[in-house]
């Protein structure tokens, strides 16, 4: 009959299973497998548009996948279950090992085995004449100690030995490594909650104040308090770009984006700064990243009576590598009807054989903006938030372009055109300084930069834990842990015989060489000490 386990017994059994090496290995392999689907199916966290597209392309499959959280793999219940179990296992495994290790650190190396000949690197030497066994072991002890060994000496009749152990750092490193992994998990798990990230588009010349309302979008962490936002201001003074023009193979490829900004702390002095791709600006506790840029043509809409009803530099979102860009102008008030325009901007306009416009170079060589005009209800009064980058044309009537038969409006900097139906006039304002040469459009259109502003107080912790992980790996994998013994036996004729041997504890490729080296150094030491004692007659 098997003895009954009882609840406590079962729990203990379960815990022992969970913290066994076999389970750890199983969970690690499960973790690797569970991470794969997230690379095959688009993820909401990194590619929300891809997810929408996937739903559109696979209307039957997508909802099923969604049920099993395939679009949120890395926050899914099953993925979380695996890594949480893994980390519980890890903690359950590391704690007893840490206790063990502390005991080992205080313990004395074990007694010297009776027969060293069976151990690794076994080597025998004869001590120089007149050496005393006890003295030989004293020297060996000193030598081992200076090589970082912890030593214990054993003496008995006619035989002395030293038992030495080194490489405790290997286990220390291993424990630090696993502990630091827990640190990383906790920091990542809770750390995000204390910071925020926000996005803001700034056109050249615009200024932004670091307050909640000034962000285009804002994602606070769970524990972040908006009132702690530090209201510094950020102005985009100039945005400069460089495109490849020498190398025809890479013609038009961007080679530099630089945002020159001014940061002014509340009540402080203005401080110029630079934000680049790969070069965030770290200021006032936040990090400012440059994640995108494009053109913001200045558009003015004037009512028939000459009142300006709209005037703004509108950020147009880039659609291709040559910066064909899409922008929306909405004029809800001041005209006979509400007006919406979908605009395309071509920094270097060109015409395909089909008659379609396209951009052939990303810089301002021959800029043009085109507009399709819509009138009707812009849907702004319903109180539903709408994107400034999209126009809902369902409730609007198209007046130019497409199937209307009316040509789209095409404007170059400085030009104006009548809106259909005597609604008024639209102008593309030329921002170039008056002194610019005719045909030089380089400064005619302002640029915008889109900035991400992040606050993450836990990054320093992550870096620290990562350093510990690396340190733990280096020591835990590469420091050899070994035991070594030196035994001196006095023979009947009074000469002393020396035995050396080692024992690897874990992977230790250099053990044999280390034993031999120790034997050689020991003998050398004995020889240098010997003449003083052994050769009195020669003096």
């Amino acid at each position: 009959m098997q003895p009954k386990l009882g609840l406590k017994g079962w729990l203990r059994w379960f815990w022992r299973q969970l913290t066994s090496m076999r389970t750890a290995l199983f969970l690690l392999l499960m973790l690797a497998i569970a991470a794969i689907p997230g690379s095959l199916v688009p993820q909401r966290s990194s590619d929300p548009n891809g997810v929408s597209q996937y739903f559109a392309d696979n209307p039957d499959l997508a909802p099923v996948l969604d049920k099993v959280q395939a679009f949120d793999v890395y926050t899914s219940a099953w993925f979380s279950a695996i890594y949480l179990l893994l980390f519980i296992s890890l903690i359950g495994c590391v704690i007893p090992r840490t206790r063990h290790h502390f005991q080992a650190l205080r313990a004395k190396p074990p007694t010297t085995p009776a027969r060293l000949a069976r151990l690794s690197g076994f080597t025998q030497r004869d001590a120089p004449a007149q050496t005393d066994a006890g003295a030989a072991i004293t020297h060996a002890r000193t030598l081992l100690k200076s090589s970082g060994y912890r030593v214990a000496r054993f003496d008995s009749a006619g035989e002395s030995s030293v038992s030495a152990e080194r490489g405790y750092l290997r286990e220390t490193g291993n424990l630090i490594f696993h502990g630091a992994l827990v640190g990383i998990l906790i920091t990542v798990g809770f750390g995000g909650g204390y910071g925020f990230s926000g996005q803001r588009v700034l056109v050249e010349g615009q200024t932004f104040v670091n307050t909640l309302l000034a962000y285009d979008s804002f994602n606070p962490g769970r524990f972040f308090d908006d009132t702690t936002l530090d209201p510094y201001t950020l102005s985009l003074d100039d945005f400069s770009v460089a495109y490849e023009q020498q190398n025809l193979q890479a013609y038009g490829q961007p080679i530099d984006f630089t945002a020159d900004v001014t940061v002014t702390p509340k009540g402080g002095a203005a401080d110029p700064g630079v934000v680049k791709v790969n070069g965030p600006l770290r200021t006032n506790g936040t990090n400012i990243y440059l994640l995108g840029n494009g053109y913001a043509p200045t558009i003015t809409v004037t009512a028939p009576d000459g009142t300006v009803v709209f005037s703004d530099s509108v950020p147009f979102l880039p659609q291709d590598a040559n910066l064909t860009s899409l922008g929306i102008v909405k004029v809800p008030d001041g005209l006979a009807e509400q007006l919406g325009m979908i605009g395309f901007f071509y920094p270097t306009q060109d015409k395909a054989a089909t008659g379609a416009n396209f951009s052939s170079f990303p810089d301002l060589e021959y800029p043009m903006v085109t507009f399709n005009v819509y009138t009707g209800d812009l849907g702004l009064d319903a109180g539903v938030p709408t994107s400034v980058y999209a126009l809902d044309t369902d409730t609007l009537t198209q007046k130019t372009g497409g199937k209307t038969g009316v040509e789209s409006i095409e404007l170059k900097p400085g030009e104006s055109a009548e809106l259909p139906g005597d609604l008024g006039t639209v102008s593309f304002v030329d921002n170039a300084p008056a002194a610019s040469a005719v045909g030089d459009f380089a400064q005619s259109v302002p640029r915008f930069a889109s900035f991400d502003i992040h606050y993450d107080p836990t990054q320093i912790w992550l870096i620290s834990f990562s350093m510990l992980v690396l340190f733990g790996l280096f020591t835990g994998l590469l420091v050899p842990r070994r035991r070594m013994w030196v035994k001196a036996t006095t023979r009947s004729d009074g000469t002393v015989h020396l035995d050396y041997a080692g024992l690897a504890r874990g992977d230790d490729p250099g053990l044999d060489a280390a034993v031999t080296a120790m034997a050689d150094r020991h003998l050398k030491l004995l020889k240098t000490h010997q003449p003083v004692v052994a050769t009195p007659e020669s003096t």
Binding site: R22, A24, S39, V277, N278, S466
Partner: protein, 356 residues
């Protein structure tokens, strides 16, 4: 040579690369001939008696069947394998084709290095900013790691594998991934490109060798088991025949030695890979404003890291030492190749640096 004309320099780089590939191909053949010779050398002894030779060798008294190609003195491997004597069942000395293979591999490596350097000068930056360049420099590092390890341990029997792998990767790179010299886009203008990608390639070189050693370990293990079965009295003929297949294995270290070597090389790869992952996070934070976002490339880097962590664990888990852990090293390197070859080209993600 005109070192100021990028286009010209790039075409010299291509000449050098194609020459390197030709020389690698000849080196590959030389290494393959060596393997064949090993088989026949073993065959020569086996006609006497395979198990007897095994036993005789262990006693250290085996006589030489053919003194010119077989040296039965145990060659002592140095440093990295300090305590691992070459414990091959039938130790095998230097053969001329092996020496030719190594010499050609060194020559090809020099041409390969010249190709990478000229490409770097042509582009005026490090030569690993797109798939073509990454493949060129990555294979150069695999070869460099191999040649350096050769000075510390006699792994020349892996020559066929390493030159073969490098040749295939270079072939794919030159035919499928080739792009003209282009300046670095702003997203890649970072010191981390130099560090992160370089260390990743170095880690890949280590994993490649670990993979090869683990594969040979598995084969060797099969040979060893069938030899011990075949030498049993009344062994079935098929077992005896199985023992004679892949006979060159008898000239290679034992499966236990191969396993230790594979482990040692793979853990170096793992440390480098861990660093790659961290350096990548730091770079991602600078370039994209977040250090980790489960981008496809990040996912696969993580998967590879976890597989190798599993491999290291397997070596410390009862029942998983030996063949099972070897399979994990093989799966790990397959994931590395998948990450490089498939994920870069066919998966969508932020790491769109293939330049294709």
């Amino acid at each position: 040579m005109n070192f100021t004309d990028p286009a010209l320099l790039n075409s010299y780089s291509l000449y050098a690369l194609y020459s390197a590939m030709a020389v690698y191909a000849i080196a590959f053949i030389a290494f393959a001939i060596d393997l064949a010779r090993r088989s026949s050398a073993v065959g020569a002894i086996e006609t006497a008696d395979l198990s007897e030779a095994d036993a005789a060798y262990s006693a250290g008294t085996a006589g030489s069947a053919d003194g010119s190609t077989l040296t039965l003195k145990r060659p002592v491997l140095s440093r990295i394998s300090a305590h691992m004597d070459n414990d091959a069942a039938l130790p095998y000395g230097r053969s001329s084709s092996l020496r030719v293979g190594v010499a050609l591999a060194v020559l090809a490596w020099a041409l390969h290095l010249a190709a990478a350097i000229m490409r770097g000068f042509a582009a005026d930056r490090v030569p690993w900013a797109n798939m073509y360049e990454f493949a060129m420099t990555g294979t150069l590092l695999i070869m460099t790691v191999f040649l350096i390890v050769l000075t510390r341990a006699d792994l020349r029997f892996l020559g066929t594998f390493v030159t073969g792998l490098v040749l295939v990767l270079l072939g794919v790179a030159a035919l499928q991934f080739y792009v003209e010299v282009a300046p670095l886009p702003p997203a890649l203008q970072s010191a981390w490109l130099v560090i992160h990608v370089f260390v990743a390639s170095l880690a890949t070189g280590m994993f490649a060798l670990g993979f090869a050693l683990s594969t040979v370990q598995l084969l060797q293990f099969r040979r060893e088991s069938s030899v011990s079965e075949a030498s049993a009295p009344l062994a079935p003929r098929s077992t005896v025949r199985a023992a004679r297949r892949l006979r060159f294995l008898a000239t290679l270290p034992s499966s236990a030695t191969l396993e230790n070597l594979a482990y040692r090389i793979s853990i170096i790869g793992f440390i480098l890979w861990t660093f790659t992952l961290m350096a990548g996070s730091i770079w991602a934070e600078q370039a994209w404003g977040r250090y980790w976002g489960w981008d496809t490339k990040e996912v696969w880097t993580f998967i590879i890291w976890v597989i190798y962590a599993g491999y290291i664990h397997a070596r410390a888990t009862r029942g998983w030492r030996g063949s099972r852990s070897a399979w994990l090293a093989i799966i790990g390197f397959s994931a590395v190749m998948f990450n490089f070859g498939i994920v870069n080209v066919f998966f969508k993600g932020l790491h769109a640096y293939s330049g294709l």
